[in-house]
Symmetry: C2
Subunit: 257 residues, 2 copies
DNA sequence: CAGTGGTCTAGACCACACC
DNA sequence: GTGTGGTCTAGACCACTGA
């Protein structure tokens, strides 16, 4: 009955490392189409997407099927549902779901924002590990950003951020400093790159001389080292971030579910 | 139409710090009943629960409503659905969903299991912070366990585990050592306590003399300090765990979604 | 008020596991 | 084959938003 193209199974099939067409239900095909529209920029972050009824008739399926597709996408933080208003493309520019990526909380006091200071933003050839992580060709152009986060005037975080030069052409330290709100919000509005998901590798390391000076700690002091690889739609990596956190008055919070 | 008791709204209502009855849909009431059955031990970890049809007729609702309740519980890892077989109570004793709580991975090689060594298991009065975390009265009896995890013969993790003595009466280091499989599996089968969810606070710290000797690192070496508070049904805290991880050849992996 | 997402129902059929 | 969960549909009504 539904008039859809081939049941391509390009979606989450956890157990499928083997062959086989791996049956893909209708709602996943709908979901794939919706993700495609998000990725192409047809609907931008913060915008309202068509109603479930309209999408249902557009795709020639029932509202329930569209609903199930949207349900999954809402759970993955791709979309945000608001009863009575509609369904919106999720965005990092909102205040409500903040601190989704910065997991550092102070030992005492509220988890208020931290003061940002951008030290530099340089363009250079990608070092080997950076190129590998970002799936670039060796020698491709990348941006390297250094910044700190401070609370109560004391630096707590030093970040080294690597971005592929291609989608982020024209990004400067000034541009970063002038933008109010989360960095990932700027990436969305200015460069059309939305961060969806990230993996982090966390270690305890000893502060080297340069880091110690910036964070105002002793050389050799224990620091939390967080290496984050962030992805946009379709699991494409677009940011490598290395952070050094002074955890003497802050901690990294995590939830295991 | 549905013949259910009062629409008690004791479930996840994130925005409700204010007053109001906070309308609770049918499927959440069903979910609350199912959680109650799990908590009471009517269905034990690993067991098959009644089919959706049977639950639907038992509660006097449609299958779709039961389905939605079970969907949420499956997402929270309370239940596991298996097509063609039925719905089972989730358990830590299974091999498939391992490493849900131990997030430490080796830099190279597969994330194979680690050798456990239990150093001691003592009964004592709860220190103030432990009592507070576990919501016990000051001076209540608790168990303190020390253990290490090793890979390739080298110690990587030192854990200090605090458990309330009441549900865990009779737990000994021998009992722990003899049980094959994850510790939380033993807690389920022997003591009827299932860990559902945990919060972790992570820091980088310098190794003290005692820890350094156990982990065979230098005094002052940077270690990952992980403080975990684990909860069972209804968010009741039942375990406080403090871990020190040597991250020179391992890292703590995390996913941000 | 109209329009949206949210809930609930009833029934059909499919995919899968076990006998 | 029988029984389970998984998908899909169609329609009704509820709760919420904003004009």
């Amino acid at each position: 009955m539904p008039a859809l193209p081939a049941p391509d199974s390009m979606d989450a099939a956890p157990a499928a490392a083997s062959a086989g067409p791996a049956f893909s239900p209708l709602y996943r095909q709908i979901k794939a189409l919706l993700v495609k529209s998000l990725n192409s920029g047809e609907w931008k972050p913060g915008e309202l997407i068509p109603s479930e009824q309209e999408l249902a008739s557009r795709f020639g399926v029932s509202q329930g099927t569209v609903r199930k597709a949207i349900d999954e996408m809402a759970m993955e933080n791709l979309l945000t549902r608001r009863q009575g208003r509609g369904t919106f493309v999720a965005t990092h520019a909102e205040q409500n779901i903040q601190y989704r990526f910065l997991r550092l909380a102070p030992d005492k006091g509220p988890a208020s924002g931290m003061a940002r200071h951008f030290m530099d933003c340089r363009r250079m050839r990608a070092p080997a590990e950076v190129a590998r992580a970002l799936e670039l060709k060796p020698g491709d152009s990348v941006l390297q950003i250094h910044r700190t986060l401070s609370r109560m005037g004391r630096p707590v975080v030093l970040d080294e951020i690597w971005l592929p030069a291609t989608p982020f052409k024209g990004l400067t330290a000034d541009r970063l400093a002038q933008y109010a709100g989360p960095m990932y919000g700027l990436f969305e509005t200015e460069f059309g790159v939305r961060m969806i998901r990230a993996e982090e590798k966390i270690r305890a390391v000893a502060a080297d001389a340069r880091t110690a000076e910036i964070l105002q700690v002793a050389v050799g002091a224990p620091l939390l080292n967080v290496e984050r690889l962030s992805h946009t739609y379709h699991d494409k990596p677009v940011e490598l971030r290395r952070g050094w956190y002074d955890t003497s008055t802050h901690y990294y919070r995590n939830e295991l579910n």
